[in-house]
């Protein structure tokens, strides 16, 4: 028998508060994660050897180490060199770094799939290399990278729960507190899980719409 009072009066209010924090974490991470991905991938493909090497190193480091370790370093490690971030900012910073590293791989692949003639034609019209990258290559690459970047956004929604480890009380954290206090882990985490499933489903739908909106005949069908 499901205890309705427990659900509506005890569990729901903190979960909703946590959900708001989760949404804020995601909303702050997505645009900067995308921007980081664009910068890193562009630097890697078009930068001079030094820039390209730095971008590649960035990807190797942050793709190759656990996100949780990165979060701990940002939140617990940085104060030792005088940088103290709030749990929320520390979490968002970690998410952006990680999300950016993965995004950059999708975008790099997409940049490399743009036919070389596109750049040549842009240069022949008198565009600088920078103008050609910004106006011709990146728009095409980003359209092609939407499915990959969408996947990363879905992952981001789920790994945003790691913010709880930095005492940033988001959805999972709020659930954990209630579950421990009332010792009702099963029901609490089933509901938390359902909420994530709901978020991911909605995000998936929105991203598919976005993909359709930006679809260009011949570029992506």
């Amino acid at each position: 028998m499901i205890d309705m009072i427990f659900l509506s009066d005890v569990l729901l209010p903190p979960l909703l508060e946590g959900l708001v924090v989760t949404l804020k974490l995601i909303a702050c991470s997505i645009p900067f994660g995308l921007l980081t991905g664009i910068l890193i991938s562009t630097g890697r493909v078009y930068g001079n050897p030094a820039v390209s090497f730095l971008c590649k190193t960035y990807v190797i480091i942050f793709k190759g180490t656990p996100l949780l370790m990165l979060l701990f370093l940002i939140y617990f490690g940085l104060p030792s060199i005088g940088i103290s971030l709030s749990p929320f900012i520390a979490a968002v910073t970690g998410f952006i770094i990680c999300n950016g590293a993965y995004n950059s791989e999708y975008i790099r692949g997409a940049i490399q799939s743009v036919k070389s003639g596109q750049m040549v034609a842009a240069l022949a019209l008198g565009m600088t290399k920078r103008q050609a990258i910004i106006n011709i290559v990146l728009p095409q690459a980003l359209i092609r990278a939407i499915p990959g970047v969408s996947n990363e956004i879905i992952y981001l929604i789920k790994y945003s729960s790691l913010a709880y480890m930095l005492t940033c009380i988001e959805l999972t954290g709020a659930g954990k507190i209630v579950a421990s206090r009332y010792f009702r882990f099963t029901i609490v985490f089933l509901i938390v899980g359902l909420i994530y499933l709901f978020l991911v489903t909605i995000a998936g739908k929105l991203l598919t719409m976005l993909e359709k909106k930006f679809a260009v005949p011949g570029l992506i069908k």
Binding site: G117, A124, L125, G126, P139
Partner: protein, 253 residues
């Protein structure tokens, strides 16, 4: 007469690895000239065109546009490229932009026209190549011939002093070739200065004032179509023209 010279190409050399693709090419182009480059594949015709706007940087030699040096121009190369239009074999239209946006993007980003001016100019150019109706179609929705005409319009919109055509009809079937050649003939007759790499000898005979036969990175011989086709000086030129004749029928001998 000397100030009528638009483009001067002076002893251009280019090597890829050990292969010398261009070994000392020189010629001059006067305003309103249409020069057609012929020769078998791998003789450096396309490389030569790409050297003119520095998409390929030659190893040595100089190129002058209106008396200003294009080679070694560093940053001002973008200024020269605006004045040298180029049309490619594979069209190279920007895949994510509609026909009209393909034409206007460089007007906005390079020539710094505002959006309204750019749109007007772009539509004007599309009308000129007979594609007003296709303005809002994407490259993938155009036929090859239409796509090539858009790419010509895109180059023309920059109001270049000279147009380079790199095998503009090689990727097209015969019917589509006709519509592209018609646009090019029109341009040539209206006084556009053009360098064309093509094997369309009908086109060459009707509008070129000089045909240049290239062989192994050099200009073997050149002359007005009537002369070069009727009485080529070299056996090699004769052979090549014969082969073209076999493939495309009588080429105006």
């Amino acid at each position: 007469m000397k100030d009528n010279i638009i483009l001067r190409v002076e002893d251009i050399h280019k090597k890829y690895g050990k292969t010398e693709v261009l070994s000392g090419i020189s010629f001059e182009v006067r305003k309103g000239d249409t020069k057609v480059f012929i020769g078998s594949s791998g003789t450096g015709k396309s490389t030569l065109l790409r050297c003119i706007n520095q998409l390929t940087v030659p190893d040595s030699g100089k190129i002058w546009l209106h008396g200003e040096e294009v080679t070694h121009s560093q940053k001002s190369i973008n200024y020269f490229r605006q004045r040298i239009g180029m049309v490619f074999q594979n069209f190279n239209l920007f895949d994510h932009l509609t026909a009209v946006k393909n034409v206007e993007i460089a007007l906005i980003k390079v020539k710094k026209l505002n959006k309204k001016q750019a749109r007007e100019k772009a539509m004007e150019e599309l009308v000129r190549v007979g594609l007003k109706e296709q303005a809002d179609l994407y490259p993938a929705e155009l036929s090859g011939g239409q796509a090539q005409r858009v790419s010509i319009a895109r180059a023309l919109a920059m109001e270049p002093d000279i147009m380079l055509f790199d095998e503009p009809t090689s990727a097209l079937d015969p019917e589509l070739t006709g519509e592209v050649l018609a646009v090019m003939k029109d341009l040539s007759r209206n006084g556009m200065t053009m360098l064309v790499v093509t094997h369309e000898m009908g086109f060459a005979c009707s509008v070129a004032n000089e045909i240049i036969f290239m062989e192994k990175g050099k200009i073997l011989e050149s002359g007005p179509p009537s002369k070069l086709i009727r009485e080529p000086r070299f056996e090699r030129t004769k052979q090549f023209l014969c082969k073209l004749g076999e493939l495309y029928g009588d080429i105006g001998r």
